[in-house]
Symmetry: C2
Subunit: 240 residues, 2 copies
C-alpha cells in the first residue's frame, strides 16, 4: 500500500503525529541552545547568535506576505496578515523586528549595524533564504505547515528567559521583550496554523506532506544554529 | 547611444513622461467604457462587466502581498500593506471586495454567485492572472510601477459615478461606494507609488522600465474590457 491509498488520520491522530515528529527534532535540543541555556556562552557568542538570528527575523514578514498572496480566502488573509504587523509593527518603535534590535542593544551590539545584516554568516543567510524560497514554491497548505515549529516555541522561550535572567545578568532584562511576547503569541499563532492544516489536509498524503514540511523547517532552524556553532564555538575566531 | 547610456531624466520630466505614456492608453478610452459612460449599455452588459471585473478586484490583495514580500524595508511594507486591508477590510463587512459585492447586488446580481467567480470569462481570468504573474516575476520597482495606472483612476471614477447616476438610475446609488472611495483613495495610493518610483528609478534605463510596466498594465486593463466587449457587445449572446 502506498501513501496515496492510506486512510486519512483523525484530526487528533494527525495533531499527535505533528507533535511527535516536530517536537523531537526541534532546535531547543541543539548543542548551541544547550550551551546557551546552561550559561556556558561567552558574551561574544551570545552577541553573534543575536546578530545572526536577526536575519531570520527579517525573513518572517516576507514569507508571511507570500502566504497571504497564496490564499483566495480574504478571511484567512485577514487573519494571517496580523503576523506581518506583529513583526513590522504598526508604528516606528513597535513590532518584533524593533524588539529584536533592542535585544541587540541589550547584549551590547550596535542595533543599526545589526539592522544592515552586513555580518550575517553566509550559511545562516542561505538557511533563512531557503525558508522564504520554500514558502514561495510550496502549496498554501505546506507553507502554513512550515510555521508549525511555533508549537514548540513557548517552551523554548520560557527556558530561554529563565536561562538569560539567571546566567547572563549583564544583559539588560528590559530588552528581553521579544522572548516574553513570543511565549503567548506563539501559542495563538500556532493554534491558527494548526486549525488550518487539520482542516485542509484532507488526505493522508496531504497530512504526510505537512509532517515533511514541519521536519524541513526544523532542519532549517537546526542548520542556522549549526553555522553559528561552527563559527563561534568550534571555530578559531580568536575573539570568541 | 543606447538606453543604458542615456542620462537620467529629472523627477519632473520622468513624472511628465509617466503621465503622457500612461494616460494615452488608459482604458477609460476603451469602446466599452465609452458605451458605459454614454448610457448605452444594457442591464445585462453592465452586470457582466461587474461580474468579470470582480475577478480583477480579487487579484489585487494577492499582487499587493507579493509586493510586500519583495521589500526588505519594513517602513515601505507598513505603508503598502494598507492596500491589502483596504481591499480585504478589517472586519467582515468592510473593504473593497465587500463593496464590490454590494455593487453586484446593486446591479441585480447574486453577490454570492459573483463571489465564486464561476462565470468569469476565460480571457478576463487570463488577463488578471497575468497581472499577478508579472508582479511576482518583476523587480519591486517594476511591480510598483504597474500600479501607476491609479494616476488616471480618479478621473475615470468621477466620470463613471456621474454616468451611472445619470444613465442607469435602476442601479441602487447606495451601492456605488467602491467608486466613491476610489476617487480619493486612488490619489493617495498613486502618490505613494509615484514617490517610490521617482526615488528608486535611479537611471534612465530603470525609468524606461517603469514606463514599460505602466504600458503593460494599461494593456492588461484594456484586454479585460476587450473580452467583455467581445462576449457581450459584439457577441451573439442572445440574452444581451
Amino acid at each position: 500500500m502506498n501513501v496515496a491509498d492510506a486512510a486519512r488520520l483523525s484530526d487528533r491522530e494527525f495533531i499527535d503525529w505533528l507533535h511527535a515528529a516536530g517536537g523531537g527534532d526541534y532546535h531547543d535540543r541543539h548543542p548551541f541552545h544547550q550551551l546557551m541555556h546552561g550559561g556556558r556562552l561567552t558574551k561574544r557568542q551570545l552577541q553573534e547568535w543575536v546578530r545572526n538570528r536577526y536575519y531570520y527575523q527579517t525573513r518572517l514578514p516576507l514569507k508571511d506576505a507570500l502566504i497571504v498572496a497564496k490564499s483566495d480566502d480574504r478571511h484567512f488573509r485577514r487573519q494571517w496578515i496580523t503576523r506581518i504587523h506583529l513583526q513590522d509593527g504598526f508604528d516606528e518603535d513597535k513590532g518584533g523586528l524593533a524588539l529584536w534590535l533592542r535585544l541587540a542593544e541589550g547584549v551590547g551590539l550596535d542595533p543599526q549595524e545589526v539592522e544592515t545584516c552586513g555580518r550575517v554568516l553566509p550559511g545562516v543567510r542561505a538557511a533563512c533564504d531557503r525558508y522564504v524560497t520554500l514558502v514561495r514554491d510550496f502549496t498554501l497548505l505546506e507553507a502554513v505547515a512550515l510555521s508549525l515549529t511555533e508549537l514548540f516555541a513557548p517552551r523554548l522561550m520560557a527556558a530561554r528567559l529563565e536561562a538569560w535572567e539567571t546566567h547572563y545578568p549583564w544583559v539588560d532584562a528590559t530588552t528581553l521583550g521579544y522572548f516574553r511576547a513570543r511565549v503567548t503569541q506563539a501559542r495563538v499563532d500556532s493554534e491558527v496554523a494548526l486549525t488550518f492544516v487539520t482542516r485542509h489536509a484532507e488526505t493522508f498524503e496531504l497530512q504526510s506532506r505537512c509532517i515533511q514540511a514541519l521536519k524541513t523547517k526544523n532542519e532549517i532552524l537546526w542548520t542556522l544554529l549549526d553555522h553559528v556553532h561552527a563559527a563561534y564555538v568550534e571555530g578559531t575566531d580568536d575573539d570568541r
